[in-house]
């Protein structure tokens, strides 16, 4: 195998994981740099989805099919990550809803959902 082919193999073999890292960091940046609580929750969702993509990518097998048993198919993708992520998605929306509910209550008590202003109101002076 010559060097160019090696690089191509590494690129296509690791591309999914690199994308996962990029998405994860975008979500992380939103969470730490943005002050708006709704935007922070959306950042968390992006972070979460990048983890889903990571798990599902790992479970994929070349030439495999969906893990539903059928005749004349011998190669299946790994069902275990699917199980974990399937439940994680629904738990994710339930917890996101909880976060949004908290944001609504914060808006009602403080009149804003910008982190800086809330901190200013909590620690005056």
């Amino acid at each position: 195998m010559d060097a160019g082919n090696d690089w191509a193999a590494a690129f296509f073999g690791l591309y999914n994981y690199w994308i996962v890292v990029v998405l994860m960091m975008v979500g992380f940046y939103i969470v730490i740099a943005h002050g708006n609580l709704i935007k922070k929750i959306i950042g968390l969702t992006i972070f979460q989805t990048s983890v889903f993509i990571y798990y599902i990518s790992m479970g994929n097998v070349d030439g495999g099919t969906a893990p539903i048993l059928a005749d004349n198919i011998s190669q299946y993708s790994n069902p275990l990550p699917h199980v974990l992520i399937l439940t994680a998605i629904v738990v994710g929306i339930a917890t996101t809803a909880l976060g949004l509910a908290l944001a609504i209550r914060i808006k009602e008590s403080y009149g804003t959902i910008e982190e800086e202003i809330i901190q200013g109101m909590d620690n005056p002076g």
């Binding site: 082919n5 935007k39 190669q75 069902p79 992520i85 909880l98 944001a103």
Partner: protein, 354 residues
Amino acid sequence: MDSLRFCNPKTIKEDNAIELLIDIVLLSFLVCIAFAIVRMKDLFAVIMLAGMYGLLSASFFVTMDAVDVAFTEASVGAGISTLLMLTTISMTGRYENTTRHRPMLALVVVFVTGSLLIYGTLDMPYFGSAQAPIQLHVAPHYINNSMSEIGIPNIVTSALASYRGFDTFGEVVVIFTAGVAVWALLMVNVQRRKNTEIDDANNSTHEQHFIVRFVAKMLIPFILLFALYVQFHGDYGPGGGFQAGVIFAAAIILYSMVFGLNTARRVISQPIVQLLTAAGVLLYGSVGIVSLLSGGNFLDYNVLSADPIAGQHLGILLIELGVGCTVASVMILIYFNFSGRKNDRELEEHKETT
């Protein structure tokens, strides 16, 4: 180094190339959308982009053979989560502040963490490799033995409901807890809401959307039927309690969006939804207790019937029903509370102005 890579030399074969192309295009789209979400100030646009992000990742899951996951992500990521966020910004305001909390420092932290993670991926087995450690341990057991041990074709369902039933029980309890917490945070006193003027105004706006109402009325029965199909066909094809619950809830939410929350509350009373939320978890737990009392382990369905396979079928049917029940009613409960809070606030503003 390559011996560590569990290397199947990833040569690009012709039948593989198109899948690889779709994979790369979808993932690149996801990155573009993520960057657009960072840049936008208008939260309405951000939420719409987040919905597209959910739908695209669902398409990606289909190309990765994770059909069950794609199902869930399409209905959750593109449907319900978008809706809840829209309801929220209608109460909290549409635009975000432009001031950033130490953006340079955040950028440095993100960049360093990202570089370390990228460095970490260099030791990962290549994507799609059949010899990667993840493919060698538990999964082959599920793939080879689930037909003889559980007796249903969909391996995801048998792993979810039977092999890892205890995990799933934990997840259902988390969903239940989150639902109860949202209810506790946003509960409004129903007695107070007796303003007919607002009701009339709401009803008349809902009456104006004749076309939307007509088509929604036609579609809702089919959506409900589809949810039931997904619920009970989950053993044989993609589907199961989680997906069915979300789809069922989506139909009810569509109804309450088009015909107004008060009409929806008259059709499906909230106390019954609250009862069902708990009943699903209770059903799941009781199956475990019954299997304990019959002499097996917790959630060991083999003892539920004289024939182990029939016992497994019965157990999976019951706990999927419990999951579907809890998920659907938690989603409905969450939406009712969000939307009820919004109506309540509008009512208060209305009172203040008059």
